[in-house]
């Protein structure tokens, strides 16, 4: 009964999404207030019904109702409660429902927080979001009904894939989806603006905070996913350039470009066509990511089912979205010309340079991700493109981005004196190179990659300090604290996010240079050494978990005779699927992680133990945290709300008059 209730609620949500897609659009076209006003309640009602559907599905999982096919395939009576709940989206159908629910949440958030938008503009935004919602809910209902019954019901469930039974997986999918789906708001603003033909600074100002928040979610989602891969896959890698990771990284790259391009459009009215294209591109890449991950064209932990009709449906949706938006763009583009002119040395030029580089980097990832699929589809052979390709293209493309990123904030809008900028930054540049070389010698690892990475991070840190000093010097004679408080939070956001990149680069460089790994056969009492640490194997014991049996090894870690940690890596076998799993054990530290995973038992008592030393790996995620914080600061700038209100009243007045 409850699953049918959920199914019915989802159908009602589809009906409401159709109302939201059509009525406000018609209203905006005919300038009928009553029709436009339908958008908000339709969107809010839709959220209510999707949440009901979602709760009903979750109920089937919690209650172990194995007459629901999805629960039977992804849950088990012994599964811990939290993984029963996350099992709801640990599969194709449920994750689509989560997609639709995030979209609905974003839509309602727009109706609540952007209340001051002109009515006609809001109606169009809601209309566009409504159409996307129609696409996804109907996709769910037609090809992937999560409430499908299994008759007769199964006596026991097959349990959730053990790889997904992990705390990281509780929050990774929702975060990532909030990011993916969040770009639909930026997209809807862009399309609504194209429809009205008014792509001005006001539009950029309205859509900028939404874009930044979506970007923050995506950043967090990618970081959590990478952290999960690091500790769960058992060999201490944090990024694999796997197609599924690339699928989330491409919208991130283009979304980053979009945020910066929006800044130019807001401040100077320039780059308008470019910004619109980026908004369309970012959302299209989010859809492409959903397609790649969900269609089963890629084998990975994310590809749940290989049903061609599903892939075709998303592909059709993708083609429709890209096609319609580009036609609309071509039609309206002539109106977009103009905007402030700017010189060769100006903030606009530096932002343009970074935009181009980020877009090229995104295209390079796209090529490496899609080319093998194309060849395969055309039956021209099977190939794979591995990490070496991505590293070979990414490092040279990102190096100028990191350099320019710190020059840009020192350069004035519109035009600046090149000599002034050079004089200002020459000392920092020189110091960065010297520091890069010196630290590389100090850690005894002199290679181009290491020196480059260290010099770049030194550059970011030094120029960040310089930037803060310059900012504080703007108001001499005022107390330091007052001056600090006087800096707008948007500026802090920029500063933090850029500093985050520097911290991230330190992590990546050190992990890349000083990493050490050792696979060793150990029996009780034996020791092994790696990177100055001594590891003593104290034997292995058996234990039973809630839905698995495990062999736990006990390993003491010592440095210079003092014990630092006792690590307990495990080999688990999940009972329902008879699936073996390696559960790593990590001693996390600010400057290094010591990472152990347990291989197979070779002879009686002897085990293969993998020891990994990962210097500064925490800095990678600390960098991501700083970037995310930067985004939060940037989006919460008071200036946005104030200006948005002012322009809204101004435009409303204009419309009235």
């Amino acid at each position: 009964m409850i699953p049918e209730l959920g199914h019915f609620a989802l159908i009602l949500a589809l009906v409401l999404s159709l109302v939201q897609a059509i009525v406000p659009m018609v209203g905006a076209r005919r300038n009928r207030m009553a029709l436009m006003a339908v958008g908000r309640p339709a969107a809010q009602g839709q959220l209510v019904f999707i949440v009901i559907a979602f709760v009903c599905l979750t109920w089937a999982f919690i209650e172990s109702d194995f007459s629901v096919r999805l629960a039977a395939a992804n849950s088990h009576t012994d599964t811990p409660l939290i993984y029963k709940i996350t099992g709801v989206w640990g599969n194709h159908e449920g994750s689509l429902l989560l997609w639709a629910m995030s979209l609905s949440m974003w839509t309602v958030a727009v109706t609540v927080f952007s209340r001051n938008l002109p009515e006609a503009f809001m109606a169009r935004v809601l209309g566009v979001l409504g159409w996307i919602s129609v696409g996804f809910i109907s996709f769910t209902l037609v090809t992937s009904n999560p409430f499908e019954r299994l008759l007769p019901g199964a006596a026991q469930g097959r349990d959730l894939n053990p790889l997904l039974q992990d705390p990281g997986m509780i929050i990774h999918p929702p975060l990532l989806y909030m990011g993916y789906v969040g770009f639909s708001v930026a997209f809807a603003f862009a399309i609504a603006a194209l429809l009205t033909g008014r792509l001005d600074a006001a539009w950029a100002r309205w859509s900028r905070p939404w874009t930044i928040i979506a970007w923050v979610f995506l950043t967090a989602g990618i970081a959590v996913g990478s952290g999960w891969a690091y500790y769960e896959l058992g060999w201490g890698g944090w990024w694999f350039w796997d197609p599924v990771e690339n699928a989330s990284f491409m919208p991130w790259l283009l979304g980053t470009a979009l945020i910066h391009s929006l800044a130019v459009t807001e401040k100077r009215g320039a780059f308008r066509s470019w910004t619109v294209l980026l908004a369309i591109g970012t959302f299209s890449l989010s859809l492409l990511g959903t397609f790649l991950v969900r269609s089963g064209v890629i084998t990975s932990v994310h590809a749940f089912a290989t049903d061609p009709t599903r892939g075709l449906y998303i592909l059709a949706l993708l083609v429709l979205v890209i096609g319609i938006s580009l036609v609309l763009f071509a039609w309206r583009a002539p109106r977009l010309a103009g905007g402030g002119s700017f010189g060769l040395v100006s903030r606009e030029a530096s932002l343009l340079g970074n935009n181009v580089l980020l877009t090229v980097a995104c295209a390079a990832v796209l090529l490496g991700t899609l080319y093998p699929l194309f060849l395969d589809a055309l039956n021209m052979g099977k190939i794979s493109v591995g990490p070496p390709y991505f590293e070979a293209t990414f490092v040279p493309l990102m190096t100028p981005v990191v350099i320019l990123m710190m020059i840009g904030p020192f350069v004035r809008w519109k035009g600046d004196d090149g000599g002034r900028v050079v004089r200002k930054l020459a000392l920092s540049a020189l110091a960065s190179v010297v520091l890069g070389v010196a630290i590389a010698f100090a850690i005894d690892h002199v290679s181009v990659r290491t020196v480059l990475g260290l010099a770049l991070s030194a550059w970011v840190v030094l120029t960040s300090a310089q930037l803060l000093r310059a900012r504080l010097a703007e108001r001499p004679g005022v107390a330091a604290l007052v001056r600090l408080r006087g800096i707008p939070s948007a500026w802090w956001g920029m500063w933090l996010a850029h500093l985050g990149i520097g911290v991230f680069v330190i992590g990546v460089t050190m992990v890349g240079s000083l990493t050490a790994d050792l696979d060793v056969k150990m029996s009780e009492g034996q020791t092994a050494g790696l990177a100055g640490y001594t590891f003593t194997f104290r034997g292995a014991t058996e234990r039973a978990g809630p839905n698995y049996d495990a062999a736990t090894a006990i390993v003491d870690v010592e440095r210079n005779g003092t014990r630092i940690a006792t690590l307990t890596p495990e080999k688990r076998v999940y009972r329902a699927q008879r699936m073996p799993m390696t559960e790593s054990s990590i001693d996390v530290g600010p400057f290094r992680d010591i990472y152990l995973s347990l291989g197979e038992q070779v002879e009686s008592g002897a085990w293969v133990v993998s020891i990994h030393y990962r210097p500064f790996i925490l800095w990678i995620w600390m960098g991501c945290v700083l970037m995310g914080l930067g985004g939060i600061f940037a989006a919460s700038d008071r200036r946005y709300r104030r200006l948005a209100e002012r322009t809204a009243t101004a435009t409303n007045a204009k419309h009235a008059g």
Binding site: L357, V385, Y389, K521, S597, V608
Partner: protein, 148 residues
């Protein structure tokens, strides 16, 4: 500088940047493609010598054994028609099992031994790596055409 020549410089610089970036991407792409071959193709000598490539198929039943050092593993990958011996040093993925699908990446020795640097198995109990399934399908298709 006149505004006109300034703009020319800006556009020229952007184009040069773009051309350089594209050239970089395409060279890296050329150098780092990893081709996939079925065991039958490898047996026929179609695999590139001295270059990294991938082989996929089933891990042959009864072929997995460890060398005395306890770390190096020997096994064989088969597409049911031909068998390729593989040597790999390191930890095997959790779902690596005899009679199940696997894909290995590495280079071929002169004496026909495949030295794997990476072993990929499936992520989940139910699915076979696409490439491994493909190799087996190809071999079975070939076998059928021979019979006819």
């Amino acid at each position: 500088m006149k505004p006109r020549s300034k703009r020319l410089l800006l556009v020229g610089g952007a184009v040069a940047l773009l051309v350089g970036a594209v050239a970089l991407v395409l060279t890296a792409f050329q150098q780092n493609l990893v081709f996939f071959h079925t065991p039958s193709e490898v047996a026929e000598g179609k695999a590139p010598a001295g270059r990294t490539f991938r082989v996929g198929g089933m891990v042959e039943e009864g072929s997995v054994r460890r060398e005395p050092d306890g770390l190096t593993v020997r096994f064989a990958i088969t597409d049911t028609a031909k068998v390729i011996p593989v040597s790999y040093r390191g930890t095997l993925p959790d779902l690596f099992q005899e009679g199940k699908g696997a894909v290995v990446q590495g280079t071929l020795d002169q004496d026909g031994l495949f030295r794997a640097s990476e072993v990929l198995a499936k992520h989940d109990e139910n699915y076979m790596p696409i490439e491994a399934q493909y190799a087996v399908d190809q071999a079975q298709k070939a076998a059928q055409t021979v019979q006819h």
